[in-house]
Symmetry: C2
């Protein structure tokens, strides 16, 4: 006698007899119907995500212990809502923050809502693969701006690459500046000695992990971890209450608890077995894997095929990569790999004449140690500011009024308020020709762009 309206599936199934379309959607109905008995609302005994005291509190405590946090909040709105809550809890209008250009769009959106002043940190790029900011530049910038309210970093990148977080965190702790790490792609870090340590283990104050990306939770579920005393945990919780649905999905919550159970009891063994198989597979191809052996960045050594073309070849062979960019295609292996599938992959990759890119940031060109400059002040009023649409070649020197995010990898090429350079216009032309998928822009063909009037 309560919501949800599907009544554990009674409504869907009861109708099959007088629904002529049932056949086409029947399989999906059957699959979804299987979880409907768990698709409940806040009934007695089911606790309340927004004020957990029972089963959800217990599951969050187990997760905090498993991942090494003082406190963990389950997220049903993805890492997106974790990033939004972290920024809005830590940043008041006009506050200065340090942000890597490699940040996920949710960080930029949050900074706009929070009306932050942002120092943009350049991303170190090695062999065309982004790593995140140069630690020396982050440290120099923090020292130059001791009023910095927080540092927002992304680690690992979509490519499985990572920056040296430890030295940044040590320096930030000396300055009492909280370091927030978007570890969306690294929920498996620290679960086996051969993988990189987790950001929490390295001392990060707040860490957001997409539990569905590398651990076996349902898509859109994630966790926000906190430790230490530099994070106003109560305010973060308050923002999560404000931003997350008052009807959170119990299957997503249950999936988070199952993923934690997997991480706590089973992941280390699966990872060990998988690493053995992955290394054997890489050896068969003559490759040496990077620090995150589950992510393979592959390229055409001659440079004659784009990542999009490599993607199509793999797709035709039955493999759907995680992402393609101008030069690379990235494969994500699950934590429990399958030897037969890997054998098939070896056969396909051998035919493709490609190489593995396992760049190391230490091989980067001499480090920039100059502090980054304050680039932009975000403002909510930008949302209402008049804009106009112009052909891209007429936009040089103008301030862009939309986010331009080639996706994946989701690294912002332009953030609202930034001046458009000739270099950026050239990149847009390349992306257009390569058929890249670009988010944020009104004109997906990239022929026009929105600027402030």
């Amino acid at each position: 006698m309560h919501v949800p309206g599907h009544k554990s599936g009674a409504v869907w199934h009861a109708g099959d007899s007088h629904d002529q379309e049932a056949g086409s959607a029947g399989a999906l109905v059957d699959r979804l119907a299987g979880i409907l008995p768990y698709d409940l609302t806040e009934l007695p005994g089911l606790d309340d995500l927004h004020a957990p005291s029972g089963a959800i509190a217990e599951a969050e405590t187990l997760a905090a212990a498993c991942f090494g946090a003082r406190e963990t909040a389950f997220l049903v709105g993805g890492s997106t809502v974790g990033n939004l809550a972290a920024v809005l809890a830590l940043v008041a209008p006009g506050d200065l923050v340090l942000v890597d250009r490699n940040a996920h769009k949710s960080i930029w959106h949050a900074l706009q809502l929070a009306e932050a002043r942002v120092v943009l940190l350049d991303t170190v790029v090695v062999d065309g693969v982004p790593f995140g900011p140069d630690p020396a530049q982050v440290i120099a910038t923090m020292s130059a701006h001791p009023e910095t309210k927080a540092v927002f970093l992304t680690r690992p990148t979509y490519y499985g690459t990572a920056i040296a977080l430890k030295e940044i965190i040590t320096h930030a702790q000396n300055l009492n500046i909280p370091v927030c790490v978007d570890e969306a792609h690294g929920a498996h870090y620290g679960l086996h000695a051969a993988l990189p340590p987790s950001a929490l283990a390295l001392g990060a104050d707040l860490v957001v992990q997409s539990t569905h990306k590398m651990l076996p939770a349902l898509t859109m579920s994630a966790m926000l971890h906190m430790q230490g005393d530099r994070i106003p945990a109560a305010r973060v919780r308050q923002l999560l209450r404000m931003l997350q649905s008052s009807s959170p999905s119990y299957p997503l919550l249950a999936g988070l608890d199952l993923a934690r159970r997997y991480a706590a009891t089973q992941a280390e063994r699966d990872i060990a077995e998988s690493l053995t198989l992955l290394n054997q597979t890489a050896e068969a191809l003559g490759w040496a894997l990077g620090a995150d052996a589950f992510k393979w960045v592959i390229t055409d050594p001659t440079g004659s095929r784009t990542g999009y073309e490599l993607y199509e070849t793999l797709q035709a062979a039955g493999f759907y990569p995680e992402l393609a960019d101008m030069r690379h295609v990235v494969l994500y292996h699950g934590l429990k790999v399958d030897a037969a599938i890997l054998n098939k992959l070896v056969a396909v990759l051998s035919q493709m004449d490609v190489t593995l890119v396992a760049p190391r940031p230490e091989s980067a060109s001499p480090r920039t140690v100059a502090a980054a400059q304050v680039v932009t002040a975000f403002s909510r009023s930008q949302l209402a500011q008049p804009t106009r649409i112009v052909p891209v070649h007429e936009a040089v020197g103008e301030r862009v009024a939309e986010m331009v995010i080639p996706y994946p990898p989701g690294v912002a090429l332009l953030i609202p308020g930034e001046r458009i350079t000739a270099e950026v216009i050239a990149t847009l032309a390349q992306l257009r020709e390569a058929g890249a998928h670009v988010q944020g822009v009104a004109d997906r063909t990239l022929r026009t762009i929105q600027i402030y009037d």
Copy 2:
């Protein structure tokens, strides 16, 4: 070779053999595993919720046609994210808006993030059941404040009660003020002639519906509908891109499309059959149902038992009501009722000596036609303002620093910045004694309260 990490269930199932806990969670794993093949990410052919052009765009267009909107956006963050996006798209800092005190907490949260100035509209209460604001007061307030940027109304309430929306909308249209309706509990309205018309049919500019509450979608899925030219649809879409997960759940999206299919092809017949059965059931109890026959508000006519006590009696008999308050318990029937269950319900209710409350707003006491006063200006800086915790009896006259929302029904007793009156303190004492579930407050026992320092 992509996320999600569950790899369609391979990771969960592969581990069963060396997981000693598998038995206890096995049933849940099996249920969730059933949807994992549909728990995908934005792969080719699966479209992109944040820039729909394929299957999702088609599903949204079908939904717009089904529910009578010009444009519909699928929501994976519940009505919560729809309300947040609507408010943030329409309201700039300092803008004046009219809001019913009966509004869902997501509206208050959004107003705080938007830094709105708010005219609080009182809720008409008949027989202890809230209806929403008196239309005459809404109209008088709009006329007194022609600078009003938007009106945010809730219809129906959690109790299935509703205000006369049509006259408010007509007046607002004359003043060119957009009317946004939180129709979270009324997604079934307009699907049968015997039900109230939908807010869209009555001319509302923006309507948010919780498709999972009365229609058979998955919990946390909802729709945002727009029509007319008073809503900046592109800005609403932009806010949704900012607030919703970049990894939206495909099962939730698929469930929305299935619920639309149900609404378009099957709901009218199910509702007709159910209304016959519900009316027969009500007659057997000597009751006449209200306008929304699927929601039964039940009370102890002697007033000796609280709604919470009635809830317990029903729960002991195997019926879980949707909500209980001090005086009532509310039962939600699904759109496809079951005759055997209704017979059992008659037996239980007959024993309980209760009556149905079917109040009509027309029977309310003489209407207040005075315009409501500007009560509070919301500010994001409130989130960072110093507060202290005091015993509730010492808080009279102070400005409250937290939201106090007895939940359900989720109607705000206090919103941040409001002065605490002796009357409110008395209500808090009643709620505490009755064991009500109150959200927003740090002290769930309601012995202390947070105030601005």
